[in-house]
């Protein structure tokens, strides 16, 4: 009797498990569709000419991708400049932000000083303050410092990045033994040299993850650059996208519009596909401790 019950239970369990698996796959496929559909349409439309686009949607790519890009490059929006500006700002921000955040984390991790606990708590507390609430004072400040319309106010503040610091600190707690630093000291390395030649190389995996996140955050940033940059040739991609939106876009060649969006989105997607394993793994480490 009990045997029978057990078997029946198992069978039922088996069916419901099978059923749940099917439901899970269906929802996952829907989620995948929800995530990829837009980029699929974007890709298709970027390869079609304006007149083709006017006839309605088709699922097959056209042959106008390169022509659309050439037209866009020769158009009024300094799109190529914008890409270079975005690239430059994002790369330098990522480099500064990761290097100096590692340094800050190292200060808290490796040394004992009176204000250590206070500093750590302070940085954690200010981590959540959004840049938008200080934007007003920020704009006035860079006006007074004569840094208006310059890349410096977009790059240099990256040195103080509490979230990157926090990730580095977590990573150090898990992987950087103090005995190693001790050994370097015995070998006569100075503190600064120890940091640059021993700590930074050991932190490479964490630096790589955070460099990607800093790069993407800076590449995608619209709010601050829009307040700082005014000259057309200095503008970054998100500002140009906003300009495209506020232009009389109906008169635009829609093929060009799609190519421009595609060129803002696809570089990040490509980098992501290559590095996705590290990125997805990096999300959890930075966010929650438990």
């Amino acid at each position: 009797m009990s045997d029978y019950n057990k078997m029946a239970g198992q069978k039922e369990n088996g069916i419901s498990l099978q059923f749940r698996r099917v439901i899970a796959y269906i929802v996952l496929l829907l989620a995948t569709f929800l995530c990829l559909f837009w980029f699929y349409v974007l890709f298709i439309n970027a390869t079609r000419s304006n007149s083709e686009l006017k006839t309605g949607f088709s699922a097959i790519p056209g042959a106008f991708l390169i022509e659309n890009w050439v037209n866009l490059k020769n158009g009024t929006l300094p799109i190529f400049n914008g890409m270079m500006n975005s690239l430059f700002i994002a790369l330098t921000t990522a480099a500064l932000s990761t290097y100096f955040s590692t340094m800050t984390a190292y200060a808290i991790h490796a040394y004992d000083f009176k204000l250590k606990k206070f500093m750590f708590t302070f940085i954690l507390m200010v981590m959540m303050i959004p840049t938008q609430v200080t934007a007003l004072g920020f704009v006035q400040l860079i006006g007074k410092m004569k840094l208006d319309d310059s890349f410096i106010p977009l790059i240099v503040p990256g040195i103080a990045a509490p979230a990157v610091f926090f990730y580095m600190k977590q990573y150090m707690d898990a992987t950087l033994p103090l005995s190693l630093i001790e050994a370097a000291r015995i070998d006569g390395a100075g503190e600064f040299r120890t940091f640059n030649q021993i700590v930074v190389p050991l932190m490479k995996p964490a630096i790589a993850v955070q460099a990607i996140f800093s790069f993407v955050a800076s590449w995608n940033n619209y709010f601050t650059p829009a307040l700082v940059l005014h000259t057309d040739t200095k503008k970054t991609l998100p500002i140009l996208i906003a300009q495209l939106r506020s232009a009389d876009w109906l008169k635009f060649d829609m093929g060009q519009v799609y190519v421009m969006i595609a060129f803002s989105i696809f570089p990040v997607i490509l980098v992501y596909l290559v590095l996705s394993r590290y990125i997805v793994g990096g999300v959890t480490l930075g966010g929650v401790k438990g």
Binding site: T104, Q132, L141, E191
Partner: protein, 300 residues
């Protein structure tokens, strides 16, 4: 001798902190203080004449509350956040539970995780511009819907209050549910597996396990996710700004707090902008404090 050596090393702690402290004070602290200072002054341009700065006390705060702007835009922001967050958290909980359920043994997990996280890295302004072109009156979505025979003439997504809000909420949901799923998964993997085994032995169904074990034990992380998402939601800017070209139309129903702030910054209305910033700062500070309490209590 030994002790003095230890002390001499530890001064390096301060030295290594210098870049952070200098840059933080200069680019964050000074602007914060001057923003707060500005909020007590009347300072704007009316045509070509500059008014102020004159000290007006809390007049700016009274203005943004009583002229109805702040409450309206706060409500807009909250409505769009909630519309995006509810599907986002449900989807994330479901996917997280499925990904971490060992008995389901889902295949292609790496692929699915990669795909659902992808939209989080997309430039929000470009994504919003993409939605704008896709959902335009003559855009591909309308053309698809007409080809499939759902509608006979283009639906004007940009002219209806709830369709614009839905588009904004959907974009936020698509961009963030992957991130939330991964955070929740980390929490779910942290739950002691013996609890699930015990429940299975007792014959609990998947639903019972989810509601009686997973959810209650996930509470701290759920609160963390919710509050950080709320902080992010209050900063909602890129998506509605680009989608509506900064107008928050129709009838300012999709104008968010930061879009309003952005408007003041462009018009150089620093008094009202300052008051609005301080308001945002106080709300964020309270919410951050809750997050801080939670993550800290977990650690100890």
């Amino acid at each position: 001798m030994k002790k003095s050596k230890v002390v001499s090393y530890n001064k390096w702690g301060y030295i290594f902190l210098i870049p952070f402290i200098v840059i933080y004070l200069l680019f964050q602290m000074v602007p914060l203080v001057s923003t707060i200072y500005n909020s007590f002054f009347e300072n704007y341009r009316s045509g070509l004449t500059q008014i102020g700065p004159n000290f007006v006390g809390i007049e700016n705060y009274k203005t943004i509350i009583t002229n109805g702007d702040l409450p309206t835009y706060f409500m807009n922001t909250m409505i769009m956040w909630i519309m995006g967050f509810i599907p986002q958290i449900i989807l994330s909980l479901l996917l997280g539970a499925w990904f971490t359920d060992p008995s389901l043994r889902l295949k292609f997990q790496g692929f699915f995780k990669t795909v659902i996280y992808l939209p989080n890295l997309i430039m929000a302004s470009a994504f919003s511009m993409l939605f704008f072109t896709l959902f335009a009156d003559g855009g591909p979505i309308n053309s698809m819907l007409m080809q499939m025979g759902f509608i006979s003439e283009p639906y004007q997504f940009m002219s209806h209050v709830w369709s614009v809000r839905t588009l904004i909420a959907s974009m936020n949901c698509i961009m963030w549910f992957g991130n939330t799923t991964i955070l929740l998964m980390a929490g779910m993997l942290g739950i002691d597996p013996s609890l699930f085994e015990a429940a299975q032995v007792d014959g609990a169904t998947a639903g019972q396990v989810f509601f009686k074990i997973t959810l209650p034990l996930l509470r701290p992380i759920l609160i963390f996710v919710m509050v950080t998402s709320l902080i992010g939601g209050l900063q909602m800017f890129d998506v509605p700004q680009i989608l509506t070209n900064g107008t928050g139309d129709p009838m300012r129903s999709s104008m968010t707090l930061i879009m309003y702030l952005n408007k003041h910054l462009y018009n150089k209305n620093y008094g009202l902008g300052g008051a609005l910033s301080v308001f945002m700062f106080v709300i964020t500070a309270i919410l951050s404090f809750i997050v801080f309490k939670f993550t800290n209590s977990e650690e100890v």
